[in-house]
């Protein structure tokens, strides 16, 4: 299983993501710069990390979503390659049209940096097989625009076909997201976007490893 981490100006969680992927798979991911127009064929998982690409100008993720590398990622996603976007990576994926909905400013108007609880709503995706349906995990968040919005009709179909993967649980919704949605997949199930940062909760030094299962699932290294 080979992974790739996308790098764009202003993203700053790439090193955390590289460390998490390396520790969990035992193999360092390759890095892909924004101007690249193709991604190697042997890459099975593409990760867009968090940060503030292009200074969040215009709308979070809007300019990054129009960079050449995104066309290459779209082509890979259409072929079934797994794509994971975390935080700004999630914002980039919705702006690129790879995931439904939009991420708006937090209802509190404040940047939130804290730990939340996540409910695993769908444990049958390529990214959540290490968990059980209904399981509650801890996960840190750090964002200003995480207020997920989608029109009612799309929301209904997303709920119907398991596209809502994570919800903020136990009253910890930090941003006003509709129906407490914290993470969603596309209809095919190979593109996941989430606001929380699982890469920052993967080992004892982080105070827990609740986020590890997302990478273990996506990298196909779930311990027996």
């Amino acid at each position: 299983m080979k992974s790739a981490v996308v790098q764009l100006p202003g993203l700053n969680r790439d090193r955390d993501m590289i460390a998490a992927l390396t520790k969990i798979s035992g193999k360092a991911p390759i890095t892909v710069w924004q101007t690249e127009t193709s991604i190697p064929d042997d890459v099975d998982l593409i990760v867009i990390p968090g940060g503030f690409s292009y200074g969040d100008y215009l709308r979070c993720g809007a300019i990054a979503a129009r960079m050449p590398v995104m066309q290459a990622i779209k082509e890979k996603a259409e072929k079934g390659v797994k794509v994971l976007g975390v935080c700004n990576g999630f914002q980039i994926l919705v702006e690129a049209g790879l995931l439904p909905g939009a991420l708006m400013m937090n209802s509190s108007l404040k940047f939130v940096c804290k730990e939340v609880k996540l409910e695993i709503v769908n444990a049958e995706t390529d990214f959540t097989r290490a968990y059980e349906k209904g399981q509650i995990i801890r996960c840190p968040v750090a964002h200003h625009e995480g207020n997920y919005f989608v029109d009612q009709e799309t929301l209904k179909s997303m709920n119907g076909n398991g596209q809502v993967v994570f919800r903020y649980a136990e009253g910890t919704n930090p941003n006003g997201a509709i129906e407490d949605i914290a993470g969603v997949v596309n209809a095919r199930g190979n593109v996941l976007g989430m606001m929380p940062h699982p890469e920052n909760l993967i080992e004892a030094a982080h105070g827990g490893s609740d986020g590890r299962g997302i990478f273990a699932s996506a990298l196909d290294v779930i311990a027996a």
Partner: protein, 80 residues
Amino acid sequence: MIKARVTVTLKNGVLDPQGKAIEGALGSLGFEGVHQARQGKVFDLELDTADKAKAEADLKAMCEKLLANTVIENYTIAID
């Protein structure tokens, strides 16, 4: 040269926390009866063309591709 102004606003039904805060601030300044405040964006663009029809088509494409997120926003184009 053609000068154009693109206005991007949030669609009805989309929550606007900034607009809400502005509405509250106007109330606390003593401006009564402000029913609703919605915040949007304005882009002033200068295009190197004299062809109004082409400019309009280009501006529409710019809105669809970048200036607006049509999931949550509407846009209007005004050409001088």
